[in-house]
């Protein structure tokens, strides 16, 4: 006979912060101490991780494939850049405006993206990004075209912390924004809304039979993902005080997809770890073979999709299971 009250501990446990997570978030602080000369690079890492997180929300959780996610990054970057170069230098409101601009674009394009199947989605996202790239390229008087957008003046953060040459303020600023948005995303994926997104990814055909308006849900998460990407772009603009046209390139979208697959899509930490592994591999390989580093990156990618599905996160989960099994055998279960 089953007990009258059902044990919900495991359901509740899924959204609790684990020890490993707490330790993971100590890493940036450790990096600050260990690599004080690489703050600019670390800031770049945080921003890319946020960008990757935004793709994970739409691809990893909701299953919307995209080859043009740079569109939102670019729009966010130009929005923040244009504000700061036209006298509005306050950084936090700049982030907000950039996020809203990208979200509006995300919502509008979601109406196109959601119409088709995976191939259509790849092409529509790619097409939107290509068009935006050429718009930015052509409108030199506003965007600076290939020369990039310069002349940005970003005010001190909270009116106190100047964006310094060593990247001290930028480091803490980017890390704080990354953590805050990660925290929100973590709330989101563990909520009923997050579960319904997973339902759509796993079996979109079944969801209407449960009463779910599938396209409305997908449009919502696509808009959120776009806003995240836009904020990442704005961070990049504000911390470097420059927007290059390459914010909108296809290469940026493709690399992002690569990072996510590398880390393991469908897991928030997969997005963060994928960015970390990609950027570390980039630097290590570029040191060894400056001209051919992408060869080894390609090989790594093949190895992951062929032999280690689920990327770095999948591998870690597999290891954790092995350790658990070993300890059960060794320790002798009661």
């Amino acid at each position: 006979m089953l007990p009258a009250s059902f044990d919900l501990t495991r359901l509740r446990a899924s959204e609790r912060w684990r020890v490993s997570e707490r330790l993971f978030w100590m890493l940036p602080l450790l990096a600050y101490v260990v690599f004080p000369d690489s703050l600019v690079l670390l800031t770049h890492l945080f921003i890319t991780a946020l960008f990757c997180l935004s793709l994970d929300l739409i691809l990893g959780y909701a299953g919307i494939v995209s080859l043009g996610h740079a569109a939102f990054f670019g729009v966010g970057a130009y929005a923040a850049g244009l504000l700061a170069s036209h006298g509005w230098g306050e950084p936090l409101s700049g982030l907000l405006v950039a996020g809203v601009c990208a979200a509006v674009l995300g919502f509008v394009t979601s109406l196109l993206v959601l119409r088709g199947t995976d191939l259509t989605r790849l092409m529509v996202t790619l097409g939107v990004a290509m068009m935006l790239y050429e718009v930015a390229n052509k409108m030199t008087s506003i965007t600076g075209g290939v020369d990039g957008l310069s002349g940005m003046v970003v005010d001190p953060l909270f009116g106190r912390f100047q964006f310094d040459l060593y990247g001290n303020t930028a480091f803490w600023y980017a890390l704080a924004v990354l953590f805050a948005l990660f925290w929100i995303a973590r709330k989101l994926v563990h909520s009923p809304f997050g579960l319904s997104l997973q339902g759509i990814r796993l079996n979109a055909g079944r969801m209407p039979a449960l009463g779910a308006p599938v396209n409305a849900r997908l449009a919502a998460i696509y808009t959120v993902g776009a806003a995240y990407a836009g904020i990442a772009g704005a961070l990049m603009a504000q911390t470097t005080q420059f927007v290059a046209l390459d914010a909108l390139t296809f290469n940026r979208s493709a690399e992002l997809l690569l990072m996510l697959v590398l880390g393991g899509s469908g897991s928030l930490y997969g997005a963060l770890l994928g960015t970390l592994v990609f950027m570390v591999a980039h630097h290590a390989l570029a040191d060894v073979t400056p001209e051919y580093w992408e060869f080894w990156l390609g090989a790594l990618l093949l190895a992951i999709v062929l032999f280690a599905r689920g990327g770095v996160m999948g591998g870690l989960r597999y290891l954790a299971q092995c350790v658990q099994r070993l300890s059960r055998v060794g320790g002798g279960a009661p």
Binding site: L11, N203, A209
Partner: protein, 250 residues
């Protein structure tokens, strides 16, 4: 009095092929209504028209007397029309509890809530647990769906439909692929549902149909041949000729 579910001269053409031909079906509230017919008679097409998966070429579908012909699938579910699928369509990577919770959340209108964790919506969790208890799935609540035997998965299929608290439940061959011993248990769960739920059943096993149903409609070549009580159908000369006499599926 209006019927729980009704179709009026429903037609569905695929090119030149008429899959559903002038079907006017009436299902009374509280009925255990079976839909039988040889393979290719258009039973599943009819279910797809009822649920809104397909749009009819002409005709109307009424739920509780109200036309729902133009409504999308999810809107019909919200008005109390739920279904199960002939072949399991489940969420392989979700646990049984999560799957049912997903369905309960949809009905309770929680799925747009993006802040509080799943477990914090205790009314939904309680209801999901109750549903699992009813269908004897509580002991596998934390197992992943794909790790369960097909018969157990079949119960999840039904749990997902019941989570919608339907007034009308369409069961598309609920016992398909389930071993005989388990299909008995499955039908006991279905028979135990309250009479407030109207059930439309598609089933090939005639023993089950005649034991379970109080109304039977016979579909042949996309058209409704006849409709009546199990006794009437069993003695119907036309039915014997075109259906029972030729191919008795079992």
């Amino acid at each position: 009095m209006s019927y729980a579910l009704e179709t009026q001269a429903l037609v569905k053409k695929f090119g030149g092929f008429i899959a559903t031909n002038q079907v006017s079906l009436q299902v009374e509230a509280g009925a255990r209504h079976a839909l039988i017919g040889p393979n290719g008679a258009g039973k599943t097409t009819l279910i797809n028209l009822l649920t809104g998966f397909l749009e009819p070429t002409s005709g109307a579908v009424l739920l509780g007397g109200i036309p729902v012909t133009r409504l999308a699938q999810h809107q019909r579910v919200r008005r109390g029309l739920a279904r199960t699928f002939q072949i399991n369509r489940l969420f392989s990577e979700l646990s049984v509890l999560e799957s049912v919770l997903l369905a309960v959340n949809e009905r309770q209108g929680l799925s747009a809530h993006f802040w509080k964790p799943l477990a914090a919506h205790s009314a939904a969790v309680d209801e999901a647990v109750e549903l699992l208890r009813t269908l004897n799935l509580l002991d596998v609540a934390y197992e992943k769906t794909r790790s369960l035997a097909y018969g157990k998965q079949r119960l999840i299929e039904i749990a997902l439909a019941l989570a919608a608290k339907p007034q009308v439940l369409l069961l598309d061959e609920p016992a398909a692929g389930v071993p005989t011993a388990e299909s008995r248990a499955l039908f006991e769960s279905i028979a135990a549902l309250p009479r407030s739920v109207t059930i439309v059943l598609i089933e090939h096993d005639m023993d089950l149909v005649f034991r379970f149903a109080d109304q039977i409609s016979v579909l042949v070549n996309g058209a409704l041949l006849t409709q009546g009580t199990p006794a009437q159908i069993a003695n119907d000369r036309k039915v014997k000729e075109v259906y029972l006499g030729e191919t008795v599926h079992g």
